[in-house]
């Protein structure tokens, strides 16, 4: 299990980094999304991996580490906000830089 998760994190990171190094905004957006998956999984893994032990208090159970889960939840939501902002910014950039290309666009 540990090995598989490590491979998954490694592959997501590699793909994310490669896409971040592309020239256009869109692949960079994709790359940041993949990288954030990797980072969230990594942060989650810092509490170690447990199967069938959700941190819901009940009699006689053992629990996975709840703290990294809470942190990852925060990180996911913040990451979503950041992705949304970057998307908005990309659109704005498009609108502003596209402004002088309006004529050519209409010629199509």
């Amino acid at each position: 299990m540990e090995v598989l998760l490590s491979i998954a994190i490694g592959v997501l990171t590699a793909c994310g980094v490669f896409l971040i190094l592309r020239a256009r905004t869109f692949p960079v957006l994709l790359g940041l999304t993949l990288l954030s998956y990797a980072v969230n999984l990594f942060l989650f893994a810092s509490g170690r991996l447990r199967v069938d032990a959700p941190p819901l208090i009940r009699a006689g159970a053992s629990y996975a580490d709840p703290l990294p889960q809470a942190l990852v939840l925060t990180a996911i939501v913040i990451g979503f906000g950041m992705t949304a902002y970057l998307a908005i910014l990309a659109l704005r950039g498009l609108s502003e830089s596209g402004a002088d290309h309006v004529d050519t666009d209409q010629d199509e």
């Binding site: 592959v11 990171t13 896409l19 256009r24 819901l56 704005r92």
Partner: protein
């Protein structure tokens, strides 16, 4: 005034002296200043100009001495500071007298002054002799010491001949310009075309010069009786240590320094004799105003700097990213491998088929999206697949809350990306060069491989955590059985408050940035297929009108149970928003907008205020911000249940999440409405 800088140098000497760098920097600067300024002084026609350049030259000499950095050289430097102050001050005053009497300071016109002011002339001649380093004057003593120091300086054997040569040349120049001052001003025929008739100045104007010149002579002839105590104090303060043995005397015997002094005197006279051809040569040199020279030099430097900056920073985000990642890899590797590695015991848990299947799907999705990123729609869908797999991993590894959140966020992200995709021009990015590709692949592989190994190592390392406390205190202290939720709204509720602030800022940003933005709605997608023009499909829209009610019910349920079972404000908020988003997709903007609240900012404020207010309420009970309370409440029909103040906090979270998602997506939606109108109008 100008000594202040040298004084600083003297004060700094204890700190920095004694290094090669110090020698080159300080002595080098000193030597260049010494020679250049002495040569310039010779060619100045203005008396004060000559004296000013001479001063700079002497400061260069002192600087050189400090740079030599033998203990005696420091003493010599301090001694020369004192001597130079004495003779130069008297010379400047004499120059002032001459200027006052003649109305000009041009040495080509001010001649033959000795006849008109013999007393001032005599005084100035003595002071100038001191400046030239003529025996019996104080300047001679410190110059001797300077010469002595340049001979046999211990540093850098190979160039040990250079220092005495530099010193002698400087001596020659000093004699020459001193001679010029004396000869041009006081002799050399009759004055030419003076504005005033010069004669001896009033007594009080001469008095300070007389005093200083007397000092020149006294120090020069009886150094032990006059300056020695002062010098000892000053030199000791500079050295901050024991003084070296030195002797202040006129006569040290026929040694190298005396030879150099004599050579300088002879050379100076010779140089001055050659003045006519020299001045003629200097006059035909191209003249350049210093300001123009500065401006030109500055331009050259600025252009060089511009090229240098452009070389480092070409404005490419790709390069910045590559540098950041490369830097992290290098520094991270160093930090990691320079640390002591702990013994690692690999105790992996067995993986089942489902895990392998999930990994396979994840590989397929991420590698696929990476290879096919130019086919944008496909790439987005593949990233969506990866997100789903991540949610499944969370479920499998005992994190139901994370799985729910991941699913909801995933939906939002995909909708967002599709909206962006809709507007992006169908241009395909030019392919990267082969070398660039190799660089990027290498960086990606190192980053991925590195984090993979680090994950493995971390998972194999035993550790102790503070989490036991949360598990223990969740029910008794926090009033909830879902520990993750209790952490989010209670133990670390402050993080959550910050997190919803982030969301609120995103909503404000989308409102501010998308306002009045116009984009052209494309008629074709990036693969050349026409976008559907029809209204929103009837089947979908009918189905989806039922959804909000259902979604609202579900989210209220999830919100309420969140404290005890997987769920909570985030997930509930995201579910409600996803329902509203689907509503928007199915029915279009106009329909959705009629059902949207008016001022999103106010609603955002309400949600955030709820969360903050609950936190502040704890002040009433004299507890820190965000302290929670909980207790049993029994209501008719529903029965008895646990109610925690943290749940109101969670309600605030819910409100913020819904408003944010709706604001952002409706902002993008309005964009499309304007885009279509634009198209119709055009």
């Amino acid at each position: 005034m100008v000594k202040a800088g040298v004084f600083l140098l003297a004060r700094l000497h204890p700190a920095l002296g004694g290094t090669d760098l110090w020698f080159w920097l300080v002595s080098g600067t000193g030597a260049v200043t010494l020679l250049y300024s002495a040569a310039t002084a010779l060619f100045r026609h203005d008396i004060k100009g000559l004296l000013a350049y001479s001063t700079i030259s002497h400061l260069g000499l002192i600087t050189l001495l400090f740079g030599l950095d033998t203990r005696l050289s420091i003493v010599a430097g301090v001694f020369h500071i004192i001597n130079h102050a004495i003779f130069k001050a008297s010379l400047f005053m004499a120059a002032g007298v001459i200027d006052h009497e003649c109305g000009t300071r041009d040495m080509r016109r001010v001649n033959g002054m000795f006849k008109r002011m013999p007393i001032t002339g005599s005084l100035a001649i003595i002071a100038a002799a001191s400046m030239a380093g003529v025996p019996l004057m104080n300047g001679f003593l410190s110059k001797e010491m300077f010469f002595a120091e340049t001979v046999g300086h211990p540093q850098f054997e190979a160039i040990s001949w250079l220092l005495p040569v530099v010193a002698t040349i400087a001596g020659v120049l000093a004699v020459a310009y001193s001679l010029r001052f004396v000869h041009d001003v006081f002799f050399n025929g009759e004055p030419i075309d003076l504005p005033r008739q010069p004669h001896e100045p009033p007594r009080w104007m001469r008095a300070p010069i007389e005093l200083l010149v007397l000092l020149c002579l006294l120090v020069g002839v009886f150094p032990q009786l006059t300056v020695a105590p002062l010098l000892k104090v000053a030199a000791a303060a500079t050295l901050q240590g024991p003084l070296p043995a030195f002797e202040l005397a006129l006569w040290h015997g026929f040694n190298r320094p005396l030879m150099m002094s004599l050579l300088a005197l002879a050379g100076g006279v010779f140089l001055y004799a050659l003045r006519a051809p020299l001045f003629a040569w200097q006059a035909q040199l191209p003249t350049m105003h210093p300001r123009t020279a500065f401006e030109r030099a500055y331009r050259v430097l600025a252009n060089a700097a511009r090229r240098g900056v452009a070389l480092l920073d070409n404005g490419s985000l790709q390069r910045y990213n590559a540098l950041l990642i490369g830097f992290v890899l290098v520094l991270g590797s160093w930090a990691f491998f320079s640390g002591e590695k702990a013994s690692i015991r690999i105790a992996v848990q067995a993986a089942d088929e489902a895990a392998y299947l999930a990994l396979f799907a994840l590989l397929l999705g991420s590698v696929g999206a990476t290879l096919l990123y130019r086919k944008r729609l496909l790439a987005v869908l593949l990233v969506g697949v990866v997100g789903l797999v991540v949610a499944m991993i969370f479920i499998r590894l005992s994190a139901p809350d994370l799985a729910l959140t991941q699913l909801a966020v995933e939906t939002g992200t995909i909708v967002l990306m599709l909206l962006v995709l809709y507007y992006l021009p169908a241009r395909t990015a030019p392919g990267s060069s082969a070398s660039r590709l190799v660089r990027d692949v290498l960086l990606a592989l190192f980053a991925g491989g590195g984090l993979m190994l680090v994950t493995l190592q971390m998972l194999a390392t035993p550790f102790q955590t503070i989490s036991g406390f949360y598990l223990q205190e969740s029910v008794p202290g926090g009033g909830g059985t879902n520990v993750v939720n209790v952490i989010l709204v209670d133990f670390r509720g402050f993080d959550t408050l910050g997190e919803i602030s982030v969301l609120v800022i995103v909503a404000l940003a989308s409102h501010a940035l998308l306002d009045r933005l116009t984009l052209i709605a494309p008629r074709y997608d990036s693969d050349g297929r026409a976008w559907a023009r029809e209204a929103h499909p009837l089947f979908l829209s009918m189905l989806m009108r039922l959804l909000p009610a259902l979604a609202l019910t579900v989210s209220v349920y999830i919100l309420l149970r969140g404290h005890n079972l997987p769920g909570g404000g985030f997930v509930a908020g995201l579910i409600t928003s996803v329902a509203l988003v689907v509503q928007y997709l199915a029915n279009g903007n106009a329909f959705a907008h009629r059902r949207m609240p008016g001022n999103p900012a106010a609603l955002l404020a309400l949600g955030l205020a709820l969360a903050t207010g609950v936190g502040m309420a704890s002040w009433l009970f004299d507890r820190p911000f965000l302290t929670t309370a909980h207790g049993h409440v029994s209501l008719p029909l529903i029965g008895e249940f646990e109610l925690a103040s943290a749940m109101i906090f969670d309600l605030g979270v819910y409100l913020v999440v819904v408003t944010v998602v709706v604001t952002v997506l409706s902002g993008l939606g309005l964009l499309s409405e304007r885009a279509h109108k634009h198209e119709v109008a055009g």
